[in-house]
Amino acid sequence: MHIPDGILPATVCAAGYAAAAPVTWYSVRRINQRENPRADIPKASLLTAAFFVVSWIHIPLPPTSVHLVLNGLLGVVLGYFAFPAILIGLFFQAVMFQHGGLTTLGVNAIIMGLPALVSYYIFRMRNILEKKSQLITGVFGFVAGFAAIGISVALFLVILLTNIPAELDVATERTAIYTLALAHLPLMVIEGVFTGLVAVFLQRVRPQLLDSI
């Protein structure tokens, strides 16, 4: 779900960078406001690498298998570090696997990163509740994961289809977006369930991971 080089007009690429810059700046500022920002850097870095690795796990979805995007989980675990983490992850992917692209890095960071921040806010609402049972954690995890990937898919399709040089009429375009989004529904559900399950696992085994950063 990464937009490659060459397909978007230069203006859109530039707009992507222009949008990603302030979000990065804001995230870095929030990180620097902590009492000891340095202490979290190794944590965030290793978790960034870990997310990269976890996204290599094959999830069977006959007849093929899929890789998860996990930007919702990333937001849940990393909070404000999520945006820089995604930026770095996308950069590695572009450079090492030619997945995504250098000119589209900003656009892709927005597509993946903004929803991650949204899911961070969603999951943080869990803190309002007194009791954090596994069920509650699971439900919040599901919603966070589902919402993040859902928003990503929507952003991706809108940006791609409105910029593709096909002169489609508005109605066709809208239908295409709806159909393609619907086709992603199973993937969104799997992402949500997976995010919920991991959140429950973390709460059982290392609850600090869910509220440390």
């Binding site: 060459g6 290793l46 999830i59 820089p84 770095i88 992850g89 590695f92 997945h99 002169e167």
Partner: protein
Amino acid sequence: MKLEQDKYASLDSPLHRWEPRCKFVGLVALIFAFSFVRELSMLPAMMTVTAAIYAISRLPVSFWLTRLRYPSFFLLVVVLLLPFLSGQTVILSLGPLGLRQEGLISVMLITVRFLCILTVGLVLFGTAPFLTTIKAMRALGLPGILTDMALLAFRYLNELGDDLHRMETSMRLRGFRQHRLSRRGLGVLAWLGGSILVRSYERSEWVYRAMIVRGYGNAPPPRDEFQVSAGDVVALVVTFLVAIGFVAGDILI
């Protein structure tokens, strides 16, 4: 999995010798100029410049071909779909489908732009150790948090990848098979993913301790000293001119 980024980083060529900061700025400018191109008539020039750069870099063609494997799926989709979707001028009808001229033109534009950008990107990151390039980006003013994170994440990527590989092997040896999507299967994979997160979190605590014991943050990070020669600057100016040429040419034509 192996990261083969640095396989040809120690070859010797003008591009390998180009000062990393100048190279970064120059080639990135060129990449963006390429993404600006919308005129068919600019494509030959673009391909010539790209081919010249790749030739000068002395990177083997096999490297380029292996790197193309991943994104070729995307190219295929574009090539197969766009000519039928885009434009009005049907030049060939195949039953209900019409091959359209505008679509073919945009396929060519997209494909060439894509390949040229990818190739220049390969040269940019393939002609110096990846770390040197990141340090050059730091020297160019990328925020410290981002470079520190990138360097650390890069360092542990292999380590964690090996962890995952061993864990998957141990699961397989205990009979875990994942042919179908099942509730239990997804749960087990979530445990696997969660375990990777927990392991890296715990390791990060030790890494942090090891860092502060050796004075992390005590002194500002060293200024990476890159030596800029006159030749580096000339190459940068030339690349800039080429990049401007593409943008101007595209606007004027």
